[in-house]
Symmetry: C2
Subunit: 540 residues, 2 copies
Amino acid sequence: MHGLMMEQQLLISGIIDHAAKYHSDGEVISVNTNGGETRTNYAEVRARALRLSSALLKRGMNKSDRIATIAWNNHRHLELYYAIPGAGLVCHTLNPRLFPEQFIYIINHAEDRIIFFDQTFLPLVDALRDKLTCVELFVLMEPHNEELAAAHPWMESYEDFLATGDENASWSADLDEKDASSLCYTSGTTGNPKGALYSHRSTLLHTIMSATPDVMNLSACDSVLPVVPMFHVNAWGIAYSAPLVGAKLVMPGPGLDGKSLVGLLNREKVSFSAGVPTIWSGLLQHLSDTNTKLPHMDRTVIGGSACPPSMIDTFRDDYDVDVIHAWGMTELSPLGSVNNLKYKHLSLSKEEQNALRINQGRPPFGIELGVFDEEANQLPNDGIAQGDLYCRGPWVISEYFSGEGGDPLVDGWFPTGDVAVIDADGNMTIRDRSKDIIKSGGEWISSVELEGLAMAHPNIADAAVIAARHAKWEERPLLIVVPVEGKTVTTEDMQKFYEGKVAKWWIPDAVQITDEIPRNATGKIRKNLLRESFGDVLMK
Amino acid sequence: MHGLMMEQQLLISGIIDHAAKYHSDGEVISVNTNGGETRTNYAEVRARALRLSSALLKRGMNKSDRIATIAWNNHRHLELYYAIPGAGLVCHTLNPRLFPEQFIYIINHAEDRIIFFDQTFLPLVDALRDKLTCVELFVLMEPHNEELAAAHPWMESYEDFLATGDENASWSADLDEKDASSLCYTSGTTGNPKGALYSHRSTLLHTIMSATPDVMNLSACDSVLPVVPMFHVNAWGIAYSAPLVGAKLVMPGPGLDGKSLVGLLNREKVSFSAGVPTIWSGLLQHLSDTNTKLPHMDRTVIGGSACPPSMIDTFRDDYDVDVIHAWGMTELSPLGSVNNLKYKHLSLSKEEQNALRINQGRPPFGIELGVFDEEANQLPNDGIAQGDLYCRGPWVISEYFSGEGGDPLVDGWFPTGDVAVIDADGNMTIRDRSKDIIKSGGEWISSVELEGLAMAHPNIADAAVIAARHAKWEERPLLIVVPVEGKTVTTEDMQKFYEGKVAKWWIPDAVQITDEIPRNATGKIRKNLLRESFGDVLMK
């Protein structure tokens, strides 16, 4: 017997409908690509998104066709986030930091029919467009501009395109919550990218859970600035969760340098932000250089890569900003775990509490995490057993777009490719990517933990630890650093620095100086490149 | 094209699975019916609930059979909340304050096959059991007791019953999220009660949304005491939402008097509670009499009936407890709207903010509210248009259990039977039940508003306002009061008291003194009885 409750599909359009109805004047501030800013609100965002959805269908788009975006966090990108799935199509966000060959591969693989792009990426799109066999229409996300239009007759302006839509359009009527809504490709550090195809349902469940207090804690009293780009796993869902609760939304556009961000955070009284550690490094540097504070900011979620403990301390001690350490993946929409205290921890000292907040935290309701041995047997959550991290839940992929790579699941679980430990409270510590962990004489050493410690050294601007080949131990840790300008870092210094902080046999054998730590499009260290360059230095 | 995400049903068992896995030692404190208390945790609650679900199926219960409870908020009731739906059955919570004839009607109408009851209700059950034609088994929610068993051979003990279940049971495997999970009958102020049949899906969506910051704001750092009974619309979802986030859960058992509650709130450092205004009156009286404070309590949700503004002020000013005014109905699971501020209100003075927090607030994502005229045309949300309040969303009923009362919906909306006004921010003010509003010379007067004001008068212990028949104006407001012991209340006093607080023509024509305001099982004023007694006093 079924319950006797109203049957309503969980649809992305429902979010902006709610925001427009109950937070019609909820502010959306958007830094424009060409300077200046646009101030709008949720009622206007919805009205324009609806018209845009109608324009898309008038151009002959069919159910579930992919529409790509290459864009910063701005109001037009936000409109596309609702217009595309609201028309029954799939919003495919592209990371502009990809290499050209990856771009071409992904767009052709997704069979994108239209590309919407910010003017920053006009040269990129122009250079690649001949190779994008499936794309029928290129739309520049700007008002009409005679000069540009004359120079680039192959493209259309966003505002012209939008104007072709019906002013009184409705959302597509026949959508099922299981229908595909958006597509993100993983920017693997090696190999061809693979697509995660989200549904309306998975997006809605992820959005609601991510607003809860132990995740992002979002309310209508927040001013929210997603530093994490809308092309990086849907800005971790913030473009959905902020309207869901009616929070003020501040879109930073292309200005992700420390100075621009600090200006915006303080002017718009931002209470909540989220981003990857590398962005926050630049921001902290600017704050320190200019002796500026963050009087309105309350908290920030840091994820994407492991957050160095020193960064958590600096935010908390110097700026009174609570850092919430989180972990996720494209394949998880991306929310996997978040570090927050429990009731039983409230009686601990601040110091003890801070020590508990360094790991990647526990899964929220909806996500189940487990560590498994090589035969896929589940290991205990005892804080000791280390194994492959598996995951399952309603916002975890079941397979990649168009079946790429075959069935990724093991007994219904998604293997994340990370090695981790989980304690009895469910708190998870990522030890490493499986392929990056260092196997020294049969024992495992976490490169992530060694990197996090190194980042606290005052002379080090950036650091990576790799498994270098070793004659006796098979592999040994090698610390690769970019020193702060004018400073030196030696093997002896660093070995002393690590003493007492990790087991003796974990201490890297040597320090290798370099100019830059190579990173992929989402800021992850490309260790395969470092291994190519430095993997043999301990063999010499 | 569907998204490629894991298909997982939203099931109630998933909540306690999550709590047991990631908050295994999360405390559950339960005041026992016969004195003393039980301290347990989510891992044990799950283990016992699983065994209980197996015991239910071993007794031959079939999918969707109804299992009734007549019980206080305690750990066994919590186990039943998970065991019954986890076995694919329907948990039917009965309000022990019902009249015997309503009891018999509801149990037979629901065709309950088993009744679990607390010892408080043993005399009640014993007196009625001959008339409960469908009930096959009566289970006393206590350990085995020889003496009781000998005196009442028709019943079994809970612990004996539980022990018949499998220790290694699993949840029922074939459940769909749309399957019925629980059943609550509306305790209408007139007529036969009708059942709202919730599903796993509606319950899960309601639970997750109710944990968000602008609703109950529940986290793993909270200590939660539901004063609202588990037989009153599932304790407003708290028996689900507290385990969902891993909060400490404090179950007050039968002790709902001011002294017992204050003791428990302070000893267990309760940060969040929820209940109806009448319970809080008793608590505030005890606090004032004993000069006691509530040092740990942060906030409380008050709903069920309109909360008098004076109660909000007292909690906030004297006890530093934030009152969150909310509105709901059995037919809405019950969450309909919650009063919380928005970002744009943060710059207002405390006084201006408090003034905004008196109404019933705005709907959270998932609920849509509208006011409609008599021809079911939607009126604007302009803060002026007053009309019938309609509602829709995934946790709103589509019809009553077994089709009772026919199709309740109008164009897909559920008419609530309330008269309300909604402003542009979505904030809703309940003016009255449609049948209680006072129509004076063609204009409407809100009895709820007049009652709320009267409750702030120091000489008034309880108050109700009804539409009394009037020769000239058709209806005029009559204020019916229970004075504080030893105090007097006169018509002249009250007319002066209302001056300047409401329009002149709203001021009640007379004051009628009475011993008690009659209330139904959930604390709602039974105005039909008052109208029978006093409806003609202005005609004399």
